[in-house]
Amino acid sequence: MITAPFEYAAPKSLKEALALLRGGGSDRKVLAGGQSLIPMMRFRLAAPSMLIDITRIPELGVFEEEDGYLRIGAIITHGQMECSPMIKDRYPLLFTTASVVADPIVRQRGTLCGALVHADPAGDWGAALIAARAEVVISSQSGERRMPVDEFLVDTFTTALTEDEVLKEVRVPVPSARTGGNYQKIERKVGDFATAGVAACVTVDDKGAIAQVGIGLCAAGPISRRAVSAERRLMGNTLDDAAIAAAGAQAAAEAEPVADTRGPVDYKRDMFRVLTIRALRATRTIVEGRR
């Protein structure tokens, strides 16, 4: 119940944070909300020698659209996403995701970037940001690098971050006019990890044909993943019931869920079918409303 002892630092700049991180090897960990890290430390499954609290670094609190991207800084919380009128109106996929991450109190401290770095296989943001075709900005003392979220999420609890790097920001393309999105999650109760999670993001052209589509799945294998075949099945088609049903079937086939107390594999696979259909239907309603 009480963690192993550790040292604590609360740097005021990213430069300072990176220097501290560089100084300690894998034993030092970045702390933002801590809503995933601290519980692990309490069970002594993690015992970093130092926590580097980045929540006092102003530049990591960026949260605005700029040059075609929504910039979400490292310390932006799920709660800030959920309460933002901009997110609610213009990013329905992100809004519906933020509303179901953890519980409403944990959301006040937990951060989107922190959750992404934690890379839980059932991580809601992994699925959503894959669907939204987001990219990440990684900082180290040597500079910055960027990559798509798909590449960033490598494996269970494993990302492309090296020991001395910090996830600085996530960038989500500003959606074009005829875009809708939705996140569907099965949780046994509020706060449960997803039994299955499907994120959908669809842009249609002026004829109603799908011009861009992203479908992200979580709790579907070792790490959140893109439902590539489902996306391919939808591209160029209209978002009609047949296409939606087919996409659902594809997503179910692509998912690789693991049996656990939430259910056996065949059940979970079918939930990917059902949730994909529901996410696409909800997306269609938004898109039709915006045409």
Partner: protein, 165 residues
């Protein structure tokens, strides 16, 4: 190694030297003797430890006291004033919104945080807002009623003081 922190709790400044690993909940309960905030689980699930930090509800078991340096913390002990109970406290009492009382401080603080950002929540919004707080005794129904009563009371007070201004 110890760290010097200054935290304002219920309006009072406190300075202390603490281990980094001291959770905020134990800082409140044991360093400051404010035992109203409770501990009910080890997975950040139950919300018995809910307090308000810089205006936002927080599970104080999943935050270290060092992280609260320079912050304003509100606990259940700060709800009542010289004029009497906070409308939420009165409403919980009026509506039998507690039985063993163990979840109550956390519920009160979660409810206070809710009403400060959403003064007229629907029943569904109330249930969602307290879904990070577990109660084993009441089945939540009377807690919801209590929060609805407090919301009306606070809205009424706000209206009448606005009217009087």
């Amino acid at each position: 190694m110890s760290y010097h922190i200054e935290v304002t709790v219920n309006g009072e400044r406190h300075a202390a030297d603490v281990e980094a690993r001291l959770p905020l909940v134990y800082f409140l309960r044991e360093t400051l003797g404010l035992t109203g905030t409770h501990i009910g689980c080890d997975t950040t699930t139950c919300g018995a430890c809910t307090v308000i930090v810089d205006g936002k509800p927080v599970k104080s078991c999943t935050m270290f006291a060092v992280q609260a340096d320079g912050c304003r913390v509100e606990t259940v002990e700060g709800l009542a004033t010289e004029s009497g109970l906070h409308p939420l406290q009165q409403a919980f009492w009026d509506n039998h919104g507690l039985q063993c009382g163990y979840c109550t401080p956390g519920m009160l603080m979660a409810a206070k945080a809710l009403l400060s950002r959403n003064p007229s929540p629907s029943e569904a919004e109330i249930r969602q807002a307290i879904s990070g707080n577990i109660c084993r005794c009441t089945g939540y129904q009377n807690i919801v009623k209590a929060i609805q009563q407090a919301a009306e009371e606070l809205a009424g007070t706000a209206a009448s003081s606005a009217a009087g201004a």
